[in-house]
């Protein structure tokens, strides 16, 4: 039996909840959220540290508090929630198939918002050689075991990757009595927020080794140590720098990958750089009526921006249901010098509305000027005192300027002396 709902939201983390609230508040009230976990909130439930919400809610919250703030909004509106319900398929004509302990659920949706989040890159994807003992965890798995279930995963720890989860876990493990021997980062700069290096590593004298990686894992049954080594600018291992660090645990914080299996199954084209769907300014994918937001679309640095993006997608989905979708001419956006990607990848130019472009830079820069151009027409510029790949940049293009874009929009940067 197929039931019908106006908007089906796949995933009840920060993106899904914000999208649901935005859609509801714009007038489409028949919204359902499907989530595989017993409660909404997604990964925020295990992120017990503070630092969330300053931008979006004006106060500094922990992860569970940020999630709870949105959950209250969802519940206040009576938005229907299915927990412990896993979506197994989304069809291009917006039939969502899900499964829970009661059976198979099929919903014909007016619009679908994909908000499945992301997963961590695993050891296998890194292809680290050596043995395959217990004690190798992705940082998020360790975080869940410690923060939610209350089990300590190790006593002496090496962390590979300086993404934010890795940095946060270095402090967390230290708080629980573990000794964090080192954080190794293969790149010459950290992928995490600079303040996390300060308050998670420097506060506790945990060394961060840049241009350094784990080349081998040792130990038959449980990790006994790792060999680390420096790498050159082409990421080749410098043999003479190899050294052994005894440890019982290796945590991996080596990147997040948007979880787009459902997206692909719906035939939605994926951007090879973001690993998320190609979308327009409403976060609508190339399949009409299917929207995407949050970390399934692009890996964000801050949850606050996830919520922002989800509100755009939620409103877009509601407008789609109402039959008032963006029309008219559209152009592609293209990353130029120093810019790794630009999202949305396509924008409608005749909407008259200001449109924000989001991007990440290719490497750390000092002071830079971003220029948004279409052909010879400069649509916007922005100066930043510094720019780093770990942080998302946002540049707003005014509606009247956007109307002048007849050719692809390029965003590039130049270093300002």
């Amino acid at each position: 039996m197929i039931v019908e709902h106006d908007i089906v939201i796949v995933g009840g983390g920060p993106a899904g909840m914000a999208a649901a609230v935005a859609a509801y508040d714009s007038g489409v009230t028949d919204v359902v959220i499907l989530d595989r976990e017993p409660g909404l909130g997604g990964i925020l439930r295990q992120c017990i540290h503070n630092g969330f919400g300053l931008h979006k809610l004006g106060r500094e919250l922990t992860g569970p508090e940020y999630a709870d703030a949105y959950l209250k909004e969802v519940e206040a509106r009576g938005i229907k929630i299915y927990t412990e319900t896993t979506v197994t398929a989304v069809s291009p004509d917006r039939v969502v198939t899900a499964r829970n302990r009661e059976g198979i659920l099929k919903i014909q949706a007016g619009a679908v918002v994909l908000a499945m989040g992301c997963r961590e890159r695993s050891r296998g994807a890194l292809n680290i050689s050596g043995t395959r003992p217990a004690g190798v965890y992705s940082a998020g798995t360790a975080q869940k075991l410690i923060n939610c279930e209350g089990y300590m995963v190790g006593k002496t720890v090496v962390i590979l990757g300086s993404g934010d989860i890795g940095l946060i876990m270095a402090r967390r493990m230290t708080f629980e009595g573990a000794k964090v021997e080192a954080v190794c980062e293969v790149m010459p700069y950290s992928g995490g927020l600079i303040r996390n290096i300060e308050q998670c590593l420097n506060d506790f004298d945990i060394p961060l080794y840049l241009s350094t990686t784990v080349v081998e894992i040792h130990g038959k049954k449980r990790v006994e140590g790792v060999t680390i080594a420096e790498v050159d600018e082409k990421r080749r291992v410098k043999e003479e720098t190899k050294r052994y660090i005894p440890c019982d645990t290796l945590l991996l914080s080596v990147g997040l990958i948007p979880e787009n299996e459902l997206t692909r199954s719906a035939g939605i084209p994926i951007d090879p750089i973001t690993n998320g769907a190609l979308v327009d300014e409403n976060r609508e994918t190339a399949v009409p009526g299917i929207f995407a937001c949050g970390n399934v679309l692009q890996v964000h640095d801050l949850v606050d921006y996830v919520s922002d993006e989800a509100e755009i997608a939620g409103l877009g989905a509601a407008n789609f249901v109402r039959g008032s979708k963006s029309e008219g001419a559209s152009v592609e956006t293209v990353p130029g010098n120093g810019v790794r990607y630009v999202l949305p990848q396509r924008v409608h130019t005749e909407t008259g509305k200001d449109t924000a472009l989001f991007m990440r830079v290719t490497q750390p820069f000092g002071k830079v000027r971003f220029t948004v151009k279409s052909g010879d027409e400069v649509l916007a510029t922005a100066v930043r005192l510094k720019a780093a790949p770990g942080e998302m940049e946002k540049i707003v293009v005014k509606g009247d300027k956007l109307a002048m874009a007849k050719a692809p929009i390029t965003v590039s940067l130049e270093v300002v002396k």
């Binding site: 931008h55 709870d68 300060e198 506060d203």
Partner: protein, 115 residues
């Protein structure tokens, strides 16, 4: 004295320089007044907000989380963690509930609801 530090107040992570003597410090590089205050505090009496976990005694392998309502002196972090480790709560618990009042000038409160 002269000290360079990274602001941890918000994700922006401003690089700041503090110069001068204890009662007369100047801060350069901050983008907001909170940053200036942080820099001065960091050079005179550094503080941190502490977050950790507390076991829910009447649920199988379930933890709730806690935080200090205000930053506490940095040198007391591990003392406080020891105190937090001894706490047990019983579900249902609600965020905001004080589980350790009046420590180092603030309270330790629950941050995660457990039904």
């Amino acid at each position: 004295m002269k000290r360079e530090l990274i602001c941890i107040v918000c994700p922006r992570g401003c690089a700041m320089t503090v110069e001068g003597e204890k009662d007369n410090l100047t801060v350069v590089g901050n983008a907001c007044p909170k940053g200036k205050q942080y820099a001065i505090d960091e050079c005179t009496h550094p503080t941190r907000t502490v977050t950790s976990i507390v076991r829910v005694a009447n649920r199988v392998d379930t933890m709730t989380s806690v935080k200090t309502e205000a930053p506490i002196p940095k040198e007391h972090i591990f003392d406080l963690l020891e105190k937090i480790r001894a706490i047990r709560v019983e579900a249902p618990v609600e965020a905001g509930t004080v589980v350790l009042p009046d420590v180092y000038g603030t309270n330790v409160v629950i941050t995660k609801n457990v039904k």
